[in-house]
Symmetry: C2
Subunit: 405 residues, 2 copies
């Protein structure tokens, strides 16, 4: 598997993508993205588990059942959430307009929105925007698509890999936006992946569902799950590899590449968490079960106390032990070892559930870096899990508390 620098979703054979400005975002930044597969494609998707689901999420839960999916239209600036039946009609209209322009049926179009909650959609602008986007698909737009799905993200998030199955070139490319929440109620995790692999729809869904569990679902910026979160994969089969209908070697190879793409995007989202000054990766190893490992890893990355300590580059291992202690995961407190690691170095701060003497300066030099790895060895089994997050900074509070003041 090879990483292709400077490539994006529209560089995958048979796919086009464009981002334009439709007039929704006051900032004047691009706010409408269209992803199109020139040939019939199968789609797989996962949606937010929040009981409060935005209109496009509810619509896509139906549209994803379509045997053919050739377009995804995304607007940023308005989440179309908590907007009632009118909001749902607006999502339906977005699919209809896109389908009409591209010669598709509405169910063959997926719709996504991210932005402010509870505000009616400015459909006049969005409708015109969709028409404009559809007409400009054939031009070369490089990163305009990745830019148009951003809200308060500070950088675009994309990754493209190339792998080979039966000697065929298999491309998998993804773009994502993270949960920056500068504007009140903004913030959603969206990820769109295009691939030219030839695979059965049900198997693509299985691969995505499994992949999401260990990637996006192991990211926490502030523990709040958005009303709009969504991950969508489109596979158009142009690679012409023999149709994958079972979890054979080809499937395994594809799944590995898909996991890498999702993991890369998940880490970029964590790194760009609101106010973040560093990326925190937590590895829990030697847990009794995978579930125990995941629960402990997620608890640490979600602890405000741990996140604040890391912002202050404070080797506060007691809070880490405390955080796994109140997680639902099973482990033996008297066995836990804790280390802080990164390219700068590695230092053990706790052994067998107790603190051990360590050099504060060395610990600080490690924790002051932009990437910090918390290694937790439960010495209790053979399972492991990884979670990603960021520190809790003054800017998080400023961004989320004082925007309107």
């Amino acid at each position: 598997m090879k990483i292709l620098e400077n490539k994006t979703i529209s560089d995958v054979p048979g796919f086009q993508a464009v981002g334009i400005y439709s007039g929704v975002r006051r900032s004047g930044k691009k706010d409408l993205c269209l992803i199109y597969s020139q040939k019939p494609a199968v789609a797989a998707a996962t949606f937010t588990k929040n009981k409060v689901k935005a209109a496009p999420v509810l619509l896509n839960m139906e549209h994803v059942k379509s045997e053919n999916t050739q377009a995804i239209v995304i607007n940023s600036g308005n989440a179309n959430a908590c907007t009632g039946s009118e909001g749902f009609e607006d999502a339906v209209t977005m699919a209809k307009v896109t389908a009409k322009e591209l010669g598709l049926t509405p169910p063959e179009v997926m719709v996504c929105s991210t932005g402010i909650i509870g505000v009616p959609m400015p459909m006049d602008k969005i409708t015109k925007g969709i028409e404009t986007a559809c007409k400009s698909l054939d031009q070369n737009h490089a990163d305009s698509a990745a830019k148009a799905i951003m809200t308060t993200d500070t950088f675009t998030k994309k990754i493209t890999v190339l792998t080979h199955i039966e000697g065929k070139d298999i491309y998998i490319s993804g773009i994502a936006k993270g949960s920056g929440m500068i504007h009140p109620n903004m913030g959603t995790m969206l990820s769109f992946i295009t691939t030219n692999i030839n695979i059965e729809k049900s198997l693509l869904q299985a691969a995505l569902k499994n992949s999401v569990e260990d990637t996006y679902n192991m990211v926490s910026v502030d523990g709040d799950t958005s009303t709009n979160d969504m991950v969508i994969v489109l596979a158009n089969g142009l690679a012409k590899n023999s149709f994958i209908t079972t979890t054979n070697d080809s499937y395994v190879k594809f799944k590995e590449a898909l996991d890498f793409v999702n993991k890369t995007l998940a880490k970029l989202i964590a790194k760009d968490g609101e106010g973040a000054t560093k990326l925190i990766e937590t590895n829990v190893i030697h847990a009794k079960t995978k579930k125990d490992a995941k629960l402990c890893a997620k608890s640490v990355i979600s602890s405000s106390l741990v996140k604040s300590a890391l912002f202050g580059s404070d080797a506060n291992w007691g809070r880490i032990l405390c955080a796994i202690g109140y997680a639902d995961g099973d482990f033996t407190p008297e066995k836990v070892d804790i280390f802080f690691k990164n390219p700068i170095g590695s230092i053990q701060v706790a052994k067998d559930g107790m603190g051990i003497p360590f050099d504060e300066d060395t610990a600080k030099s490690i924790l002051e870096q932009e990437y910090v790895n918390i290694l937790i060895d439960l010495k209790d089994g053979e399972s492991s899990a990884t979670s990603w997050g960021c520190d809790l900074s003054y800017d998080y509070v400023k961004i989320n508390g004082c925007y309107r003041t």
Copy 2:
């Protein structure tokens, strides 16, 4: 039931309490508290659910089984947590020394610690401190006991009520400390209650367990559960009411007063959360079940996004709807109404799961107060629940992130 201003736990007939400085806290503040019942008493207690339990918690889980409990010794400055077998021996020693001085057996003494995690106990200082405290019990110490259990609390937390059962004066008094976490790893919720009621031990335990569920367990400062949390009640029976052995009218009356005491202390703890600028009370009403109501109320009070918005006095109802959406509680999103209330006024910001136009200035004037009530009407049933917390401020991050820097 009457609130007795300026009274404390040692004003309950048969009880004495004292707080002294033993030399553990660098600040020179009182750091050792002793609560003593001159007559035999029954104890009830609840302990942290954190799997990582401090030594005194493990010891008390045994000592609480004793039919007689006449003393509680508490030190602040060192949590005696993650200190291994040596730490457990230190807790045992604290009970032994106290028992010897007061003519009791070690199991008749409860031990509590709060402070730094993972540091060995300075037992020489603590042993001398206990001896000094035991010798000075007979003097009048007013609030010294409540002061001595504080770590980074900014004010003492106490409440005393008087109720009548069979014409007898029943006193219930409590002191507590909250989870200020200024010093790395400090922060524990401790509450000690004394009463002169005559009640069966098993029934006192039932009353406390039930009371804690709706009071202390509905408080969240930052979602982190300490390794040392503990609530202990001592009842010495001096009121001479007929021995309560069933949930009769006397029990119900006592339970009401006990709930009031615990609720008052819980609110004081929330108000004094680290960096807090305001007390947030969340009422969830008309839920399908009590469990649904509690899950939703707890989720809102624990959301960093909601807490940050309240710090900024931002009427950010979308985040509240989002927070109950990812809680495990069941409700119908399309039915939810949300209001902000306090003595300044009341304003509705969401109706039937959607935003409604409201006056931003009025909302701001309500949210800028030191007390804000978030009322969430699920319009889905007859159950309700209340949770308490505080806003997320710059100081929280400063306190927890930058202490050592």
